[in-house]
Amino acid sequence: MKYAILKNNIVVNVIEYDEQPTTPPPGFEDGHTAVQADYVSIGWHYVDGQFTDPNPPEIVELPKPISLAEMILSNPEELAKLKAALKGA
C-alpha cells in the first residue's frame, strides 16, 4: 500500500510499505509520519484527515469538437471560396 510521508502536514514523499510503518518511518528523521493514501502527490497538504492539492490544475475548457462540414458552414468566406471552386471545376 502507498503511504504519504508527512512533515509539518505536507507530503514530502510517497512510499510503498506492506504494513503501517513506524513513526518516524524507517530511515526518516523525527517529525515524519506516514499516512495511507492511494492517490496523493508530493507537495500536497494534509489537513483534518484530507489531502488537498495546494496548486490545483487550472481547468481549461477546450472547444467542443465539430465536424469539417460544420467548420466550413460556419465560415461564410470559406464557404464562398468552396462554391466558387466547385463552379469552376
Binding site: 510517497v14 512510499i15 510499505y17 502527490s41 477546450l62 469538437p65
Partner: protein, 258 residues
Amino acid sequence: MSNIITAGNATNNGTSISSDTSGVLELKTGSTPTTALSISTAQVPTFAKAASGGTTIQVFTSGSGTYTTPANCKTIIVEMVGGGAGGSASAGGSAGGSGGTTTFGSSFLTCTGGTSFQPTTGGLGGSATGGDVNINGGSASGTYQAYTTSGPSYTGGSNGGVSYFGGAGRGAAPGSSSGGSAAANSGSGGGGGAQNTTAYAGTGGGAGAYLRKLISSPSATYSYAVGAGGSGGTSAGGDSLAGGAGAAGIIIVTEFYV
C-alpha cells in the same frame, strides 16, 4: 617420465634443464653434467584463485530503512530510479498521481518521480542529483483531438514516459480502454486513457529520473527510500477512461570487496 631441454653440445660444456613429475627442476652444465641449480617443489611459488564473493548485490524495491555496508566492502555502486507518475484519465477525469522520490543517504542521492498533467499535456520526467551520471526521466507526449469529415474521431492515449530501465505503460487504444500500467519497479510512467467520442485523450505519466554513483570507502550506513509509483488518473464517468499506474522506483547496490 622426465622433460629435458638441452642447449649446445652436451659433450662440450652444454647445458640442460630437466623436470620430472615430482616437480623438481634442475639446471645441469658441463661435458659431464653436474647440477648447477635445483629448485624443489617447495621453492616454486603458487598462485591461488581469488576468493569467491568478490562482489555482492542488494536490491530494494519498496519501503524505506537503513542500508548497512557489509564488512570488508571497499566500494559500492548505487543505481536508482524514482517512481513513475500515473497516466491521466481522458474526458474530464483527473491527472495521475506523481511518482515518489527515491533517496539514498537522505539528500545525498535523489531521483525525483515523474509528474502527470491533464488534459492534453504530457507528463514530465523527474530529475536526479548527486550521481556521477544523472539522467532525467522521459516525458510523455501530449494528445490531440482528431477529426474526420463526419466529426471527431477516436484517439488513443499517449504512452507513459520511459525511464532508464524502460517498461512504460502503453497508451490506451482508441475507443473504450484505460491506460496500461508500467512494468514493476521500472520507474516508468503509466499510459493515458483513451478518448471515446467527444473529448480529449489522456496523457502518459512522466518517468522517474535515474542516477549511477560510485562510492569509494563507503560510510557504515545510509538511509534510503524507494519512491512509489503514482496512481492512474481516475475516470469522471461517461466517456472518461482511467489512466494507467506508474511504477515504483528501485535501488540497486553493487558491493565490491577487492
